[in-house]
Subunit: 242 residues, 2 copies
């Protein structure tokens, strides 16, 4: 059973303002929920599962966050086109990453799917921190959470002014993904550094670009004008992270 | 002005069956339309532009395919959430690629956005042919066309039975993106070859995998379970295409 107030509360979590105030977010589907429940630092606040989900998840039956709801109730609360067995409300993770490893810096990534894919790429390459400009999509937007495939539980996301951030860390190496930089294979490795990826249409803002010391380009052999931001990040990290 | 019949005709092009029968497809937005119009082998059948589009595209004014429509008419025919100045109907390109270069082989890529991004990646790396299993999304689906960013006009797309295809080309080298293959940096280069990418959830089908001689893995440094199919393709091509 789910009450009208619970439905309203869950729907309100589609708004960034409310997610920030409550420090909560929503995730959906058995796979991502199972991954979150297995992470010691992730705190479930409510889990709403259909009988199909509960049949495979007997461990949680007595937990205080456990609720069984019907398929049609799930349809009322889900943010997905095709609701998928379970919806969970989680506390935003508190991942205080020790500085020193690789970072991914995102300047104006506005598409939630791209942001989610970028966070998943960071997690694949062991990049524990993603630093976002204030105008990036919100990492706890339900669409972003879904496309991170649970990586949002393992990667720290920080929103800040990137120009100030880079100036404050001027001793670090900042690689910038651009169309007219040093070919990727000629780039010198400097140990853990930061990779900066710009907006899908406009690239890295000029005022930020001025601060970056290593422009990098993925050699083009054909005719496409550009690569998708997430694909570019994956390619560059695959060449530089050791 | 646009007639009811024209609206119906354009809407019917959202269906694969009709696109196949007519050998036509739809593209939208000034950027992709301008790129298509500049390709000598691309044939425009109709272009419906708003006054805003025509203001910047005076060259086409007298062309037989030229139509001016209002914003609200564009809204009626557009497949986009935010219609963008112009919609064009084009003949599917006839790109008869000379065999010998790199190929990208896609086994069950079902998401239109992923397929479009993969075609764009192929175009970036000079891969002129994408070979798709019959259950891949249709490359001329409007969503795929938009996410190729005009690369669909430069890359030949072939649908076929992949097991038969690979068996018929057994002298070639087929790299397969898998989670338990040879680490990418240890992979031997064999000159132009084919890269096989599997379905987003299930990977490459076992009956196809049996036929592939070079399993390749992108080393993982963190914890994400997998990489997005398009990101994996981009990373592997960036290491192997020379």
């Amino acid at each position: 059973m789910i009450t009208k107030n619970q439905v309203k509360y869950i729907q309100s979590l589609s708004h960034k303002k409310f997610r920030d105030e409550e420090s909560l977010f929503v995730a959906e589907g058995p796979k991502i929920i199972a991954e979150f429940l297995a992470m010691p630092h992730m705190q479930a606040v409510e889990i709403y599962g259909t009988p199909e989900w509960w049949a495979n998840e007997p461990a949680g039956r007595t937990a205080e966050w456990a609720k069984e709801i019907s398929e049609s109730e799930l349809e009322r609360i889900s943010f997905l086109k095709s609701p998928n067995q379970v919806l969970g409300i989680f506390r935003k993770p508190d991942l205080s990453v020790v500085p020193g490893g690789w970072q991914l810096i995102l300047d104006g990534i506005s598409d939630p799917g791209n942001l989610g894919t970028l966070i998943r790429i960071a997690d694949w390459f062991g990049v524990q921190q993603v630093i976002c400009s204030a105008d990036c999509a919100d990492a706890f937007n339900p669409k972003v959470v879904q496309s991170t495939m649970a990586s949002i539980g393992r990667v720290e996301i920080v929103y800040t002014n990137l120009v100030d951030y880079v100036r404050a860390h001027a001793h670090r190496n900042f690689y910038a993904a651009v169309l007219d930089g040093i070919p990727l294979k000629d780039v010198r490795q400097h140990g853990p550094s930061a990779l900066v990826i710009g907006n899908e249409s406009h690239g890295i803002r000029p005022e930020l670009m001025k601060e970056l010391n290593h422009p990098v380009t993925i050699p083009r052999h054909g005719s496409a004008e550009s690569l998708n931001a997430a694909v570019a990040a994956g390619i560059i990290l695959s060449h530089l992270v050791e």
